[in-house]
Amino acid sequence: MCEFHNPINCIVPPHMVDVLMLRGDASVRKMAEGLVKIGSAVREARAAEQGSGMVPRDGAQGVFVSRALAEGAAAAHTCDRRVHDGEEKAGLPGKLVRAEGDPATGDPEVDRAYDGAGDVFSLYSEEFQRNSIDGFGMPIVQTVHHRRDYNNAFWNGTQMAYGDGDGEIFSTFTELSVIAHEISHGVVQHSGGLIYQGQSGALNESYADVFGAMTAQRSAGQSVYEADWLVGKGILGPNINGKALRSMKAPGTAYSDALLGQDPQPYHMDFYVDTTSDNGGVHINSGIPNHAFYLYCMYLGGNSWERPGQIWYKALQNINNPHATFGDWAAETLDAAIELHGIGSYEMLMLRRAWNLVGIDV
């Protein structure tokens, strides 16, 4: 299940240089400019020698793919979970209360975070041959009871943190789809990244929701037809009128409440929301690719982590474009479907249909 380890040295992959130049302060941009001057051949040689997360794609000089994918199945993966108690303060990671192999603590937040991370590790290891968040056995560090009445859960670039909620809007965040969502943001980061703004940010969000739902389905042994396709089920406060935070089956219907308003997620490009808030609507427009994944699963049947999940995961490893639009992502999933199942295959044709149904021509 959750059992192996292998450390990694990292250099900055080329697309990350682009990101650093885009988003870094003056000193970071200067460093990034220096990296641009290093030729791609040198980078490829370095990647091969130093065990970077990104390596050249076979037969395509200068094109990088995630090493976690290029290396294929790991012989042995080790799960290293570390759950900390933030004790309602903001300091991270807080006090270590349950390390790998430790018995249950009796604190439901701690134990759900521990067990949930095990389910996520198991999904990535057994179904996608990925050894933890970075592909190389990175410890899965989580903090529960983060801050006081804190209505949020996040990935901060190195670890997950979960608040307890204020009891009014949220009652908890240690629900399996949420844990898998946050850990999957780490997987995105260590697979080349998707800039957290606009469409690429919504794709980052959607990948996290897709793998959040997938983890919950696998853990419950549910086929795509048995699943409820909800993200954050049961985490809302007791008086909130809503069943979850998001619905992949019917984006826009997860909640309708006097305090929260109406779930704002669209299911089609016709209803794409142009906004400056929420990093350009990353949690809003993610409804569109979320729904495409759901529709595709309905066409294929079976389990989400099988054919659909394999295509989505391969697309993430191959896309090599942190600024990807919905169209770029759809095209990458189609390439992945062709690579895995062949041109003209049912899997390819139904995928094109799913994207078309949400208003994306591919």
């Binding site: 302060d25 209505n151 949020n152 809007i169 943001h185 935070l245 929420d278 990353v282």
Partner: protein, 109 residues
């Protein structure tokens, strides 16, 4: 006799939080206080941590690459002269001590 604090007792701090995992764009939590109304033991901390010069330095730092679902804080400080200083800061850029001070501010919603 209460110790007399010089410097920022009349300073007004307002913090509006938005964003996060929920994507609840319609829900903003506002916290607001005049420093002299806060517990006297904490007033110096508020003065130091919410000093506009200090916040400017924090605002110059880049948000960690890959971070997701973090909360954004819109912080407005009205100083002794009545000048308004406005900052938008991701929670990953704020020291833990400052975040704890935000959590202790009274809610104005």
């Amino acid at each position: 006799m209460e110790p007399v604090l010089v410097g920022c007792v009349a300073m007004i701090i307002e913090v509006v939080s938005q964003g996060g995992f929920g994507g609840l764009t319609g829900v903003q939590v506002t916290r607001r206080a005049v420093v002299e109304d806060l517990p006297s033991a904490a007033q110096e901390q508020y003065c130091a941590r919410f000093d506009p010069g200090h916040l400017s330095e924090l605002a110059a730092v880049v948000r960690p690459l890959g971070a997701a679902d973090t909360i954004s804080y819109e912080i407005t400080v009205v100083d002794e002269e009545g000048a308004r200083h406005h900052f938008v800061l991701d929670e990953t850029l704020l020291p833990a001590e400052l975040l704890d001070l935000i959590d202790a501010l009274p809610r104005a919603r």
